[in-house]
């Protein structure tokens, strides 16, 4: 299952080589042309069946949240920085993989026996270290070096329609584009896989400058909110309730005509959809829609619980809804 590969492959923001190689290898026989730009984005092109077709950009980001090793202590412990936004509270005690050789490590913190209720305080990233089982700097330096990246060490699992793993934000979007690129549509299609989304929508900003898109559809993994709540507050999007359509987030408002067309297309084809909570988060759509003279943009996502943590869940039926809706639009947009 390609989702297993996509979820497990190493690719934190700024170090997308492995995931990029995998995607290129997977799509190269299905597209008319393919290039990698100066930022490291993949831009694939597939001509439409219709001669007077519109140009649609389909984008997802390859990078995932991770860490960078910033120094090695005398005792062999590794100091690190987060790459992308990660809740400090979810990293303690988690397994990580470091660098090209995938050296195993664990993010360590004092065991409870050695604490005086330190656990009441949330530690800063500055006070945390990654332990690779070395006891001195010299030894640690054999395995890792300053500037190496690390990601969560998580195996992909599947049970019925439910998948569990890391990096569903945004490898689910990558999987969808890979699948969509296998067919030809009425409209011209640019399939783009961006770098460095998690550190500030950087890849898409450069990529879209050279893509003459009439429309853009961004495919994402977004946070599901169907977990216990202490008061009557928003609990959507929910896993299993369909593809998530963004009305607005902190980077973007949807193009109204495109939004209306999308919703009617979903209804027509009985594709399950739901909305994202307005004004939450941001995606590559933020950079794309205000590129050059402006691009009519919409963002779809698969709702996923606990994104930006070592483990997320998602429902394959929502993924299917996202792929189906996108395919329908690729033939429909005029």
């Amino acid at each position: 299952m390609i989702l297993k590969n996509l979820s497990e492959i190493f690719g934190p923001s700024g170090n997308e080589c492995e995931i990029r190689d995998f995607i290129v290898e997977t799509i190269k026989d299905h597209v008319d042309s393919l290039k990698i730009d100066k930022m490291g984005n993949i831009i694939a092109f597939k001509k439409g069946k219709n001669k007077n077709s519109k140009k649609v950009l389909l984008g997802a980001h390859m990078d995932e949240v991770g860490f960078m090793i910033k120094s090695i202590e005398e005792n062999g412990m590794l100091r690190f920085l987060p790459a992308g936004s990660i809740d400090k509270r979810v990293v303690i005690g988690k397994n990580v993989l470091i660098g090209k050789e995938k050296v195993k490590g664990v993010i360590c913190y004092k065991p409870i026996h050695l604490q005086r209720k330190d656990y009441n305080n949330i530690p800063d990233f500055d006070s945390l270290v990654i332990d690779i089982g070395s006891t001195e700097k010299k030894d640690a330096e054999k395995y890792v070096s300053v500037g190496d990246y690390a990601v969560f060490d998580t195996k992909f699992e599947k049970k019925g329609n439910i998948i569990k793993g890391k990096s569903f934000d945004d490898r689910l979007g990558c999987a969808a584009i890979i699948e969509i690129l296998k067919e030809r549509y009425e409209n011209d299609l640019f399939g783009a896989f961006f770098v460095q989304e998690e550190v500030g929508l950087r890849g898409s900003k450069a990529a879209v400058f050279n893509i003459p898109a009439d429309y853009a559809i961004v495919l994402e993994g977004t946070s599901a909110a169907d977990m216990p709540h202490s008061k009557d507050e928003p609990d959507y999007p929910k896993m299993g309730d369909g593809v998530v359509i963004t009305i607005s987030d902190r980077s973007f408002f949807v193009h109204k005509d495109l939004f209306n067309e999308t919703v009617s297309c979903a209804k027509e084809n009985k594709i399950k959809y739901q909305f994202k909570q307005p004004m939450v988060g941001g995606t590559d759509g933020g950079e794309i829609h205000k590129s050059k003279e402006g691009v009519k943009t919409i963002v779809f996502a698969v709702p996923s619980r606990y994104i930006h943590s070592p483990v997320s869940y998602a429902d394959l039926r929502d993924y299917r809804s996202m792929v189906d809706l996108t395919k329908k639009l690729l033939n429909k947009l005029k």
Binding site: S248, Q277, P278, V280, S291
Partner: protein
């Protein structure tokens, strides 16, 4: 012109929902055959008065701060997210209007209230008088936008209402577009969108217009109320020519040019140094290779509240100043 401002400020047009403002402007410009009008993907309204001279972009934003529906609870109360700089202390127990005309009032969770702490906006809700969720859902839905209720107060020379930021700029641009003054310059009046959420409309419109010179028209704060920040700008002392704000430094040749025009035409003016905030000017100035950009600001008190106040003399003088600038041969200044 007061009526024009009253009309424009009574429109509900939060960021991304500027269409009602567009409609009003288009209706006002109907029959002006010398103007070309187009819209772009972000909804900017670009009104061109064609000429053979330099390309000048004059920009004012149509959008206002507001809010968006996030959740309707079982009792029919509405939770919302803010759109732009809608500040908690300005909105408690204010009346609000949704873009579909439904009205309401902003309430807040008060079980832990104390006078020292202003509740945050996620501790507030909008009460539309619904008896439960079902009843509320007949009137509003997730994603519906709204803004503060217009309350135009006529104080003579001075007026006070919501969204002078930046309908006052729209009024100035509209007044200029309606005026058949002579100029060789190629003028683009750009009514921009989504300024309050990050100068987004200005970005795409500046890219497509690609002007030789630009003027953003917006409001600025004042230093003339009791015990306020130190700031030279006062209400009624003339349009403010921007020197600096937190997003841009206006180039010296541009400031000098605007000051010269004001002096030559005996138009009162003030120099503006604003500590917080910025305008579309910032985005236009850094477009492509960079654009020589100035800002004409209308001094305004109580910005981002339901009771923003400005002086109509400053508004009229802003029109005069910009008109004189638009008549100038910019190549003589090396622009």
């Amino acid at each position: 012109m007061k009526n024009l401002v009253k009309d424009l400020t009574s429109i509900i047009g939060p960021s991304s929902y500027e269409e009602p403002v567009v409609d009003y402007i288009e209706k006002s410009l109907k029959g002006k055959k010398n103007l070309e009008i187009k819209k772009d993907a972000l909804g900017n309204l670009i009104v061109r008065k064609k000429g053979n001279g330099k390309k000048i972009m004059v920009a004012a934003h149509m959008d206002e701060i507001g809010f968006i529906v996030k959740h309707i609870d079982k009792n029919g109360f509405i939770r919302f997210a803010v759109v732009g700089g809608l500040f908690p202390h300005n909105i408690i127990e204010n009346h609000v209007v949704f873009v579909n005309g439904v009205e309401g009032v902003i309430g807040y969770e008060n079980k832990n209230f104390n006078w020292q702490n202003i509740p945050k906006t996620d501790e507030m809700f909008i009460d539309i008088g619904a008896k439960d969720k079902k009843d509320a859902e007949k009137k509003v839905n997730i994603g519906l936008l709204g803004a503060m209720k217009p309350t135009f107060v006529d104080l003579g020379k001075r007026i006070s209402t919501k969204s002078l930021d930046d309908r006052i700029g729209c009024a100035i641009l509209l007044q200029l577009a309606l005026d058949d003054f002579q100029t060789d310059n190629d003028i683009y009046y750009v009514f921009t969108t989504q300024e309050e959420v990050g100068l987004r409309g200005a970005k795409t419109s500046a890219f497509s217009v690609s002007p030789d010179f630009a003027i953003a028209v917006d409001v600025t704060g004042t230093g003339d109320t009791p015990e306020t920040h130190i700031m030279e700008v006062k209400l009624g002392e003339g349009p403010a020519i921007k020197v600096l704000d937190s997003g841009m430094v206006v180039r010296k040749p541009v400031i000098d040019f605007m000051v010269d025009v004001a002096k030559k035409n005996r138009i009162p003016y003030q120099l503006e140094i604003l500590k917080g905030g910025t305008t579309d000017g910032m985005m236009i100035q850094t477009n492509k290779e960079g654009v020589l950009t100035g800002v004409v600001s209308v001094p305004t008190r109580y910005i981002h509240s339901q009771a923003e106040m400005c002086d109509m003399d400053d508004v009229e003088n802003s029109v005069k100043l910009i008109k004189e600038i638009l008549k100038m041969d910019l190549s003589k200044r090396g622009f």
